[in-house]
Symmetry: C3
Subunit: 175 residues, 3 copies
């Protein structure tokens, strides 16, 4: 089984200063441990909500060979929320279906889901997905989109991802 | 309670020439009266479907301190429909979730809802929302997205909006 | 009844080289025959996944007077998938509601529907719609969006499209 590489980026002024613990990053790592059958190397970065820092960090993790880069935080309408802009700036392709589905899922819980600008995109052989900031919403969003992630990573030339089927049902269309 | 400022822009070649009455603008104002508990000042503009005029009017209303600017008209596929372009040009951030939800709601009534390019965005401390042209659709769209509006305006530094809860249920997530 | 013009573009490296038959293009033509009451002229092009070739072909078919131009293929996340980029580059307006609805419909069948970047847009008097590559998905997507197509073509100044109502229910709002 391929060893895969997962990048986790927490964009948060306060978490990056140590004002509070980054429970969002932890939630992503825990979810990956639940989902993935492959052994995986994790690359974790906790950084401030600065667009250029986020961009450089995505590029760094892509160049390190991450198959999947997941961000948390900075997707709202506030002036310091710039994660989607950073993502779009460094991606070659955007995948609007991810954001649409994540907002639809979150809308079942909170009407403010429409304020989220989260999206996903491709840079080289990395799939980048923006997630919300709250651990509960992170899991809801990942549960919704992850079934399509392994096939997407196949298509862009990344490693072959396998999942614990009793936890998350991966789908690969037959040729 | 904060006094809030609401901008209403009707983009319509014919209404702006007085060829017919602007029932769309009236529908928006009536809905605001229904929804809002706050005293509110209204800034109403009825203008032709000219992109530069729409852009200047949004900027003017934002500079006058509007917490919310609502447009009606000009969101379809016809050559003179340019309200979304004008909105995107003057906004610092776009919020695609508004358009997605409004189209989804309108789709329950008419299959042509997918022709609408309506969206929402942020300029300074103003939230700008594009609505359709027909009074019935205006209300349906506002009923769908307004629960998220007060929290959005909080996040961008605007006034604190309160609503008549028996008419529209506002949602603010707990910190 | 107006004679209408329909352009069909298959973007596929392998089909354009004759490595396999273009069953996708055939599926579109068959669907048009099912749907349309009007006599229609078809303009069929099978081309490689090259962005500039796709752009030139869309422009060519628009200049030939096509009311509707339908593409198939090249909407995924892979490096050679460039049909949405080509479409956006030559369109004056994009209609995001088409892509949203098509992905939502396809999601009922496959979780990988979120990987599709298909959209629709306007160039001159032509409506351009990106469809997926598989015949089954092509029909599902067309069944979902086609009820709005004739009215859209009306709005952009194209010919008056009429459909076999027992097969597809067209909707034109009353003025």
């Amino acid at each position: 089984m391929d060893i895969i590489k997962v990048g986790i980026i927490t964009a948060s002024d306060r978490a990056s200063k140590g004002i509070y613990d980054d429970i969002s990053g932890v939630a992503i790592i825990d979810t990956m441990k639940d989902y993935l059958k492959n052994e995986f190397e994790q690359f974790y970065r906790c950084i401030p909500d600065e667009q250029d820092v986020i961009e450089k960090t995505i590029i760094e993790l892509q160049e390190l060979g991450c198959d999947l880069i997941v961000t948390t935080g900075g997707t709202g309408p506030a002036p310091r929320d710039v994660t989607p802009e950073a993502t779009e700036n460094v991606c070659e392709k955007m995948l609007p279906g991810f954001g649409e589905l994540m907002r639809q899922v979150s809308l079942q819980y909170v009407p403010t889901a429409i304020l989220s600008r989260q999206s996903a995109g491709i840079r080289g052989k990395s799939l980048i997905i923006n997630l919300p900031g709250k651990p509960k919403s992170i899991r809801e969003c990942l549960d919704a989109v992850f079934p399509a992630v392994p096939y997407c990573v196949d298509l862009i030339g990344g490693n072959y991802i396998e999942c614990n089927e009793e936890i998350i049902k991966v789908f690969r269309p037959k040729k």
